[in-house]
Subunit: 224 residues, 4 copies
Amino acid sequence: MEKIKVTIWNENLHEKRIPEKMTHYPKGLHGAIAEALEVDAEFEIRIALMDEPENGLPDALLDDTDVLIWWGHMAHNDVSDRVAQKVVSRVWEGMGLIALHASHKSKPMRLLLGTDCKLKWRVANDSERVWVIEPSHPIAKGLPESFLIEHEEMYGERINYPRPDELIFISWYSGGEVGRTGNVWYRGNGRIFYFQPGHETFDALNNEYVRMVIRNAAHWVANK
Amino acid sequence: MEKIKVTIWNENLHEKRIPEKMTHYPKGLHGAIAEALEVDAEFEIRIALMDEPENGLPDALLDDTDVLIWWGHMAHNDVSDRVAQKVVSRVWEGMGLIALHASHKSKPMRLLLGTDCKLKWRVANDSERVWVIEPSHPIAKGLPESFLIEHEEMYGERINYPRPDELIFISWYSGGEVGRTGNVWYRGNGRIFYFQPGHETFDALNNEYVRMVIRNAAHWVANK
Amino acid sequence: MEKIKVTIWNENLHEKRIPEKMTHYPKGLHGAIAEALEVDAEFEIRIALMDEPENGLPDALLDDTDVLIWWGHMAHNDVSDRVAQKVVSRVWEGMGLIALHASHKSKPMRLLLGTDCKLKWRVANDSERVWVIEPSHPIAKGLPESFLIEHEEMYGERINYPRPDELIFISWYSGGEVGRTGNVWYRGNGRIFYFQPGHETFDALNNEYVRMVIRNAAHWVANK
Amino acid sequence: MEKIKVTIWNENLHEKRIPEKMTHYPKGLHGAIAEALEVDAEFEIRIALMDEPENGLPDALLDDTDVLIWWGHMAHNDVSDRVAQKVVSRVWEGMGLIALHASHKSKPMRLLLGTDCKLKWRVANDSERVWVIEPSHPIAKGLPESFLIEHEEMYGERINYPRPDELIFISWYSGGEVGRTGNVWYRGNGRIFYFQPGHETFDALNNEYVRMVIRNAAHWVANK
């Protein structure tokens, strides 16, 4: 069986700057995402970190990547324009892209979506309930009708996205907001999935359903 | 100025069967909807009730209607197939249709949408916060980023709609659910807007923002 | 490997009434469609004909069908309402549906789409060039950028469809028209694909690319 | 009546470099577009040319523009990044944008759409027939079911656009191609309409239906 080559990209700054707050992710956010994928033998996993040469994404790696998972938050502008544009071009060619949490505002996502992706947000004690809008979509395979994330940063409407080509999840927040938190867009031959969970100081990336979504999405955006 | 001819159709059964519970709508649900529209001189308003001949919608009236507002809940099947199909044909020709509250399961809506429109629901003490997803849409004109409806029946996901052509509102419910509660579909030359508020024993149809949405939508689906 | 259970439904009237004109399809239109699928061992193929009991679709068969392929043209109304509604319900539950050629106006399709599906048509000497709009869609896998069908009935715009959820093919006709000829709609948990080729007196269903599309679509609407 | 402030932006290079070939547009392409709009007293028209300061679009003008019509072809990269980004931001805020002909590859359009907008093209003796896909859309108001443009550059599929939010026109070309030639996208609060006609050496911008579309679109993207 041909493997799906997944590259997990992490900004990897919180890990270095506030390690004392990263208790949920002792192996880094990239490590948690890798754990989510490792249970599925179909994935071949690679890690790319921003402070590596070429922001961790030399052409040889990017050209050999079926699915790129992106986690960035505090340093979107530290990614070089050249690397961001290369990611965009690879998506147009057919590479799948999964953008997690604050990565909606990453350079590649803003270039691909064509908006500033601004939204309403709050870091607080919110809990989040993720509702499945398209239960038959491959990304939602195996999920219950909704699932709870006990603590997450609130990302609510109105979110300045282009209209999603497919709306998979809508979240309810305990503070009174809602958000389109699982969205698909197509650009060129590539599939893009944005998924909201994944704040650095909460433990959503350890949630079994969040991990299931990431696995499902990695299969689906690979489009093999 | 040419008027927009709006026909308000009401099942008009709760008014007769449980008048003691209809305290918010002393003039009937159709009366409340008419009040919402009357402040705008551009509308010419007519009332049609189910127990009138041809379910209140003889050809002469329907053919002279620019916008049909539909409120039905307990007796969808008492509308004749012939009248339902005539409404559908008028939408195809260009008549606008606004379906309120439980009217998502009315005969015309199921025929136009092609699904059973099942959803999760609960009549309880829920409050509902309606969030504006497309602030620049004419239906959302003048609204704040969200507005509160203190009491409403919960209509939550997963709602078995066809994917909306335009998603205008998403609601948050105090009980933990979310719903796509303001949706546009196009069928033939006609514009269809579904809007969730309007339970017979709560007072949402007296809410100033709900009324604003109904007025905005009546202008927009008229497509003059 | 679990098989995909495909039921091919044919009106089977031209075969009986004008056999002399059915020279391209000596085994019937259903036979040609079956030939298209038989090269792929993943399909388990069944044939259902309209003049069989329950229009060929008893519950036991329909409930055991992953993908229903529909070919009807001259006798849409001879399918019973009960069978048509049962097909619709099965789509809502997740059965895939492929509607070929004139089947856009079949009872199940009109019930699922919510429009009359009228279009501009002409049986003449038109050739048709099918252009791929979404080359990365699984339905388009393996196709060139366009392919020629030497003779087909023209089905052109404006076609009274609801806006497709995905537009896969647009056709060019030698007579000067265009048509959205490969369209996806989602209804409930089911995927619907409409594909225009397949007139009874022309040989499009023997075309290698048409057959490839039908195979691709059968895999895709099965949504396993 | 409040006027709709329309700014017509032209690259204005062919006018200076190959005036002998610009016989259809003695007042420049911007002059032809202005003529299309002048018959409607609701428009207040301004002209902006690339070789003016700030590429013709100083903040004072852009901030006072309801609708920007863009015509560029040979020198997309001569527009400064700053001006392009300012146009993009104004669209997000609600300014309407109409991109004509080769302007699909202009800097603002590529930034807003998120793709490279590559397409198949040929300058030859093609005629083009534009088919109306959404006859009830305000942009199509007053049009016949199709109209002919006797000479145009062929812009055909597969066109690397993001899926249009609304598909208004599909064109047939005499050379055998088709194209999605009238498309709407929403970005932020702004409406974007792309329309394919307008090659510099053919006379499409003098065509009465092309002019009608531009007027309709200017009203519609203004979203007053």
